[in-house]
Symmetry: C2
Subunit: 450 residues, 2 copies
């Protein structure tokens, strides 16, 4: 029986990152990555297969990322924690010293009548399946996307680029509402509507209709939307069966319970990514934030801690960005609604300025930052930015402020760099100015109160 | 005699920002901004007048920034600290409760024979003068730029866009060497050379030749460069005469001495921007980093502290960015050379990846981040990024890490957000990966040592 210093189950973002970092930090060479597929998708790139990229083959994670690790194609069906072995579907047993579970998640299948009809699809991270979806989309006209989260809107945006008529159906009042403040949600909706995408909110799909193939969906308000294909983008279910069967504890959101070192309840077994429980940076309670960027971070932490606790996971803050209908937007930390739910006294500051300076520079566009703070401590709770390409990094600046627990005063005094081609003017730089505006708002509201 | 709650001398970036923040933070309405010119230049935009913008009028700071402050055109020639008044050149006296000096700097005039000839120009922040320069450039062919700092290279880049033959003469081994690590310096030089700009380093201008007008320059190695016009970009002299005459202390770099609250040695008088002394974030010693972004930050701090100390200036870190020959680059904090001079044991980490992911996304380009850390504390000392537009904000993320004294471990674990259109893949995100690489380098060098 072969035995390896490190066995990683799952070879998507989390598993590959764990392998990279085990090599980088411990000089480990004896690493076996076991995954079901030879090739694996870049998870965040999946919607782009259906528009910008044009083919599944353009969205494959490079094999070079494996470095000196060995890849084994197979399905792990059980773990013997006492013997420290995993068993594959074909009966093979493989020993491990340390085991990382990066088993990911599968798309959630909502209990909608007709969900099993032909041409009802999910964002399932399987190369063949996603290739088949590309074929299916090629040959049809109208598409209904169930769920107006990031994945749903990105699918909608990419498919509309190919000329399909798209309807997005979202149960909440706004698309993206679970992770973004309403101003961003509305911007995304308006931008997509401007390209001809039909967006229906505060409504759900009651049934999917048609003989064998999809022909229409019926909404909860009784309306019917004709369509040839349905894409589900309403969330994921963590793959925890392997862990559960092995007696590892499962956490309250249904993911594998881990401690701050990414250890499961067996200290030789770590869990990272969509399959692992996440805890809020703000209050330590479980949060269902499943992103590739979160997975890779957990994988780095797990890899550092393989032999003894070294790095502590200070919690998940949630950093999201997207581009829909050429409108870039990003959000880090708590939404106002969530912050209030957690008991914070939320004070907001906003700033908008031209993305270049002077505003007469070519291609200068308005860019806005909005930051939320806790009035009592002055600390930042969250922030968002839109609508230029730079928001992808501005949101990381906001994330840095969050993890470093910066106050509105510290951010207002932040020593940013600026340049005519690259940023707003230092006089109106959005990140610092939003904090300055929040200070102003605190003072004004204090004056009103007295 | 009129008297104002706040009088600000100087109405460029620092003065205007002090006015904005005094209004925002204290609700002050009685503010008088005194400056020599009706219109003032966007300081960082000056080189762009000669290429991208095409006219002085496109580089004017918007008057709307004054808000409720009153603008007075005039030259303040003295301060009576006892009477708390300033005197204008025309004899008018104006009283102040609080005074902010934002008198800026003037270009340094190097003691080169021939420096007073016609068509020898400086980046002097004066609308008429810069308009005249635009006229002068319009009618000539070859230009020599003395000094290969940011301003020099930006002038060179803009003028070459207009078809002029440009030679940059830099005394140090590399252009940008005082603020950038050599890899960036070389990239900038190579990029400019690729557009036909002639760059001469490790050499200086010994004399400027010609009858009345410039005809050539002679270099220190004896070579001669034919030219019709010379632009000096070799630094600035802070305008401190007013402060000095009023008995305010001048600091070791020749700027007005200020404390951590931006107060001069008279607690009713503040100084901000190029005229004010700056102190290093790293060791508290004076540093001559004069940028509009630094000026505006100091102005915010001064405004907050007008009536009592509230905000403390934790020091200047230096955050620079530029775009030359379509090559964007940025640097924050200490260069390796400077860090070693200050006694740090420097350990470096680097990471390069496609700016979008997968790398097959349209317009994905390599983007590199390089971070320097102190081996003893693990804390970040500086970092640079090139060569995509996003480096303008990536460098602010690096700056945030510096002011928050993040260690290489904290950065490696940083919870960044990523998106296919906006950033590298989370598996190879440059900022976190550069820190991870530094950790690897520490371990490897430790292994070598033992």
């Amino acid at each position: 029986m072969e035995r390896h210093e490190l066995v990683i189950v799952g070879g998507s973002a989390g598993g590959i990152q764990a392998s990279i970092c085990a090599q980088r930090h411990h000089g480990l060479k004896d690493i076996l990555v076991i995954r079901i597929e030879e090739k694996t998708m870049v998870p965040c790139g999946i919607p782009y297969i259906y528009g910008t990229l044009g083919a599944v083959e353009k969205n494959i994670m490079p094999a070079s990322l494996l470095g000196e690790a060995t890849l084994k194609i197979g399905e792990v069906v059980s773990i013997d924690r006492k013997a420290k072995t995993v068993s594959l579907k074909d009966g093979e047993k493989i020993g491990y010293d340390k085991l990382v579970l990066a088993t990911g998640s599968d798309p959630m299948k909502p209990p909608i009548p007709g969900i099993d009809k032909k041409n009802v699809w999910f964002a399932w991270k399987n190369t063949d399946y996603l290739g088949d979806l590309a074929q299916a989309i090629e040959n049809i006209g109208d598409i209904v996307v169930i769920g107006g989260g990031f994945i749903g809107l990105e699918f909608a945006d990419e498919c509309r680029k190919k000329g399909h008529k798209i309807t997005v159906v979202e149960m909440l009042e706004h698309c993206l509402q679970q992770v973004c403040n309403s101003d961003l949600c509305i911007r995304a909706e308006e931008a997509l509507k401007g390209t001809g995408v039909n967006i229906i909110t505060s409504n759900g799909v009651k049934s999917i209709n048609g003989k064998s193939k999809v022909e229409s969906v019926t909404l909860q308000n009784g309306d019917t939307v004709k369509c040839d294909l349905v894409i589900n983008g309403i969330g994921v279910i963590p793959n925890v069966k392997l862990a559960k069967d092995a007696g590892l504890e499962i956490g309250p959101t249904g993911s594998i319970k881990v401690d701050e070192f990414q250890r499961t309840t067996d200290t030789n077994i770590f869990a990272v990514g969509d399959c692992a429980e996440k805890y809020s940076f703000f209050n330590g309670l479980p949060v269902p934030i499943r992103l590739a960027s979160v997975a890779t971070r957990e994988a780095k932490i797990a890899a550092a801690n393989l032999y003894q606790p070294q790095w502590r996971n200070i919690g998940t803050i949630g950093v999201f960005s997207t581009v829909v209908a050429n409108t870039a937007m990003a959000m880090a930390g708590l939404t106002d609604t969530k912050a209030r739910e957690l008991g914070y006294d939320v004070i907001v500051g906003e700033a908008q300025a031209a993305s270049k300076h002077p505003g007469t520079m070519p291609d200068a566009h308005p860019m806005k930052v909005r930051l939320a703070f806790d009035r009592r401590s002055g600390k930042i709770l969250g922030g968002c930015a839109c609508c230029t390409q730079s928001v992808g990094e501005v949101v990381n600046l906001i994330a840095s402020a969050i993890v470093n627990e910066m106050t509105m005063e510290q951010i207002a005094m932040f020593p940013m760099g600026t340049h005519p081609w690259l940023t707003a003017s230092p006089l109106v730089y959005q990140f610092t100015d939003a904090a300055s505006n929040a200070i102003h708002n605190v003072k004004n509201s204090a004056r009103v109160q007295t």
